[in-house]
């Protein structure tokens, strides 16, 4: 034991434990926030544009319209032909992605450091002169409609998951799917979508994070050149407050023709990212369903050798969240047996504490996952931007590790009692006729 302790001390001393990043931030005159995280040994650079807007900020009549910006960005700008942006990034060995969510939206590129000028220009093009012609918008509305319509027709799971999300988030902005109500997509007004973009690209709602290899002075000049003339009359986005989700138990059965397997969806209402409970709930998510340490997998598949599949989806919103666990089996009897066990597991979470070794192992895994995220330029940029969005400060990444390390089984039991209760559950059984 002494030797292990001594070793720990030696490693800690040699490694400077948690170095932290060189991070600073400033604001342009137009209100745009810039976060710089230089790393002198990197060969690449990440340019992330984080919008503090998402589908949550869409007017109710066109809720889901922002989702279209995700694909519209590929269709060119004043100076770029369709797909030229992505072609340039790929040709130069970079990668890029974009995602519209409810509470925020991110677009990023990771490119070789020598391409920074061009990468910044690409982002400024997207912000300033995105091609929002009537034909482009209509084409994307049709494409989104067709895609969702096809998935919805093809996949019972998709329909079931949409239903359960709607029930969990009832009476909140999150109850509308990200892409909007399917039957309304085609009737979204093109002018309203164009107008919405002026709020979406309002510099007061944007955080640009630059991480990787760059010269700080040089990058400040470039950002000034490309983004200081970004102007919008739209209002700044509202602060996000936790959404109040009604505590109401919902239970429903669906019978469908010829399914390859029966399944049950357990929807659990989860805390918002603004809530201190979020970290503890996240732990319980790892404990139950993360395939590396999943208790459910262990009980059902390894110990009971049941022919079942366990999967999950969890939201990544700031204002309110949900965890949906899917258990599936080709044999209905197996699923019925499993249902009894699931009830026992949920009530056990509240009545007894997890073992110390389980808590320690999962804490390690969560910390490693977090550090892995910080090790990639886009992961680190995302953490920095989101923390800044939520708290307006940049030191939150250290808080996460500190809080995680303090977490104990008493906290977890308390959270289980709060969230793994009947009134917090929405259950949907989908059986084959």
């Amino acid at each position: 034991m002494k030797k292990i302790l001594l070793f720990g001390v030696l490693v800690v001393f040699a490694a400077n434990l948690f170095p932290g990043f060189n991070v600073n931030h400033y604001k342009l005159k137009n209100g745009l926030t810039v976060i710089l995280s230089p790393e002198k040994d990197a060969g690449s650079i990440c340019i992330m544009v984080y919008h503090k807007n998402g589908v949550r900020d869409d007017p109710p009549s066109i809720r889901g319209a922002s989702y279209l910006y995700q694909t519209l960005m590929f269709l060119g700008t004043k100076n770029l032909a369709p797909y030229e942006r992505i072609l340039f990034i790929k040709k130069n060995g970079g990668r890029s992605s974009g995602r519209i969510n409810y509470d925020n939206s991110i677009f990023y590129q990771v490119v070789p450091d020598n391409d920074v000028n061009y990468a910044l220009w690409l982002e400024s093009e997207r912000l300033k002169s995105l091609n929002l012609s009537g034909s482009n918008i209509t084409e994307q509305k049709n494409a989104t409609y067709r895609r969702i319509y096809n998935i919805s027709n093809r996949s019972v799971h998709f329909r079931a998951s949409s239903w359960i999300n709607r029930e969990i988030f009832k009476n909140t902005v999150y109850s509308t799917p990200l892409y909007g109500e399917l039957e309304k997509i085609n009737s979204f007004d093109n002018n309203s979508i164009r107008k919405l973009y002026t709020s979406f690209n309002n510099p007061q709602n944007i955080i640009i994070v630059i991480s990787g290899h760059f010269d700080e002075e040089d990058i400040r000049g470039k950002i000034n050149r490309y983004f200081s003339d970004l102007y919008s009359a739209g209002p700044p986005s509202r602060d996000i407050l936790p959404s109040k989700i009604a505590g109401e138990y919902v239970y429903k059965n669906w019978m469908r023709e010829l399914l390859p397997e029966h399944f049950i969806l357990y929807g659990i209402k989860a805390p918002s990212k603004l809530n201190m409970d979020y970290l503890y709930f996240d732990f319980l998510k790892y404990y139950l369903v993360d395939k590396r340490v999943s208790k459910l997998n262990r009980i059902f598949k390894s110990t009971l050798k049941m022919n079942v599949k366990i999967s999950y989806e969890s939201s990544d919103n700031i204002g309110a969240n949900a965890l949906i666990i899917k258990v599936a089996s080709p044999k209905r009897a197996e699923l019925e047996k499993m249902r009894i066990y699931m009830n026992q597991i949920f009530s056990m979470l509240s009545s007894s504490r997890l073992t110390t070794s389980e808590v320690k192992a999962i804490k390690s895994l969560m910390e490693v996952d977090y550090l892995k995220k910080l090790s990639t330029l886009e992961g680190r940029s995302h953490v920095l931007a989101e923390n800044f969005h939520i708290s307006g400060s940049l030191d939150k990444e250290n808080n996460y590790v500190r809080r995680l390390r303090k977490l104990n089984s008493y906290d977890l039991q308390r959270i289980s009692k709060k969230y793994f209760t009947k009134k917090n559950l929405v259950i949907l059984n989908v059986f084959s006729k």
Binding site: F7, S44, K91, G93, E367, S375
Partner: protein, 454 residues
């Protein structure tokens, strides 16, 4: 006295961590024969470790899988074995890359858990927890378990191709058939484990922000009482490969878009010609700017994409271009690609085309080298090819120095051993995966060999 000694040790470690360069390689073999590469990398906030083991004995391709399952599978090992228990305490962030003739374990954990990782290594190399019950379960449920650890389509296509390309080695057994299960018993697993999973047959890379000397000392100490059979790494020479044209077809039911897997052999990753060959592949198969993409698009083939993966082996790498294309355009695509490859050997490559492919190749590496996983992959590659100790011999600077337009064209006129472009001789092993009936309905010229899968 003890306190004084500890203080001195801490002082020297602190001093060495201040004085030593930022990224530091310690490349040594322990007294028990374990090849260990420890990399101090201050950019990584946790520890990433990889272990690769190349198999010598592949008489029956199912044996390595069963051995792996009996050691690592959670369903088979319930309650957890001592080794799996240690992995759980580490956080169980482990990934297994199963590559037919070798296996790579990739583990991430916190720096303070290094002693536990060393415990894991000890348990791994002294694993004895085989039993008839576990063995029987693994054989009975093999089909199910096997599909859980692999992407069935990719691994089956690779098995078919490897059997053709490297068929003369390992008694030519990569492809699993029902025959593979005949006369199997527990002793096969035990003896495979004994022969292959030994200290001196493994290469371990540990990357993190720590003092490498401390880690090396701890590993050395942990294995002090270990008996290794000194079953050293045999140099595997892939000199009997076959890359003559062969087209195979694997049936996959359901409403799926078919895939074409186009396999080629190229020099191994620590050979500068490997990089030239990758540039050649970019010019031919590169997506979205390669010749095939351009010509196929101009010929009216829409909605296809190409992705390339490379599997590194000792002395050889196998490159696989995966093309997703509709049934109706399957044959047209293969014929266009064949035509382009045949023409390639005849003419020179223009500077602009070369620069586009080179640029992509060089810059994508530059971006990837910020990723600890990619860096570790290079470390593993240099370890298995027994390069000189230290950082990989082939690095970005080396590529810039040795790969240029004139060396590239020189290479084209006199290509290394296995990357010859011969006019009128079709090359590459092609494996088509899709609904066999629909594939055959759409083929007029090609006559693939239909493979019965396990």
């Amino acid at each position: 006295m003890n306190f004084k000694r500890t203080s001195i040790i801490i002082f020297f470690i602190l001093l060495s961590s201040i004085l030593l360069p930022k990224e530091q390689y310690l490349d040594l073999t322990t007294s028990k024969g374990l090849n260990l590469k420890i990399v101090k990398d201050p950019d990584i906030l946790f520890t990433h470790a990889e272990m690769v083991i190349y198999y010598t004995d592949m008489k029956n391709p199912v044996i390595p899988y069963l051995t792996f399952l009996n050691i690592f599978n959670n369903k088979i090992n319930d309650p957890r074995s001592g080794m799996l228990n240690i992995l759980f305490k580490l956080g169980n962030d482990i990934e297994y890359e199963y590559n037919l003739d070798h296996i790579i374990l990739k583990i991430n954990f916190l720096n303070e858990k290094i002693p536990l990782f060393i415990e894991f290594l000890k348990e791994f190399f002294s694993f004895k927890n085989f039993s008839l019950k576990k063995f029987n379960y693994s054989v009975k449920n093999f089909k199910h378990l096997y599909r859980e650890i692999n992407d069935w389509e990719i691994i089956t296509a690779a098995q078919v191709a490897y059997e053709k390309i490297l068929g003369n080695r390992h008694s030519g057994k990569f492809f699993i058939t029902p025959e593979s299960f005949k006369n199997l018993n527990l002793s096969h697993i035990r003896s495979f484990h004994k022969k292959n999973y030994s200290l001196s047959r493994a290469n371990v890379v540990i990357r993190g922000n720590f003092n490498p000397y401390v880690i090396f000392g701890s590993v050395e100490k942990a294995f002090k009482n270990f008996k290794d059979k000194k079953n050293g790494i045999k140099k595997i020479v892939y000199n009997t490969y076959s890359n003559d044209r062969k087209v195979f077809l694997i049936n996959r039911n359901g409403n799926i878009t078919p895939s074409i897997y186009w396999f080629e052999t190229i020099p191994t990753g620590n050979n500068i010609n490997h990089h030239q060959a990758r540039i050649i592949n970019n010019i031919i198969f590169g997506y979205p700017i390669g010749r095939i993409t351009r010509i196929a698009s101009n010929s009216g083939i829409r909605n296809f994409n190409i992705s390339t993966t490379v599997n590194n082996h000792r002395n050889i790498s196998i490159l696989s271009n995966k093309i997703r294309v509709s049934y109706i355009n399957l044959e047209k695509f293969i014929l266009i690609a064949d035509n382009i490859i045949n023409q390639f050997g005849a003419g020179r490559v223009g500077r602009k085309e070369y620069l586009n492919a080179y640029n992509y190749f060089y810059l994508s590496r530059k971006v990837k080298l910020d990723d600890y996983r990619y860096k570790t992959k290079q470390d593993i590659l240099s370890s298995i090819n027994s390069e000189k100790p230290g950082p990989p011999v082939i690095n970005l600077n080396n590529i810039v120095k040795n790969v240029n337009f004139s060396t590239f064209n020189r290479l084209l006129s006199n290509p290394p051993g296995y990357y010859k472009f011969t006019r009128n001789k079709k090359r590459g092993v092609i494996v088509i995966v899709g609904n066999a009936r629909t594939v055959l309905k759409n083929l007029k010229v090609l006559k693939p060999q239909i493979i019965k899968t396990y």
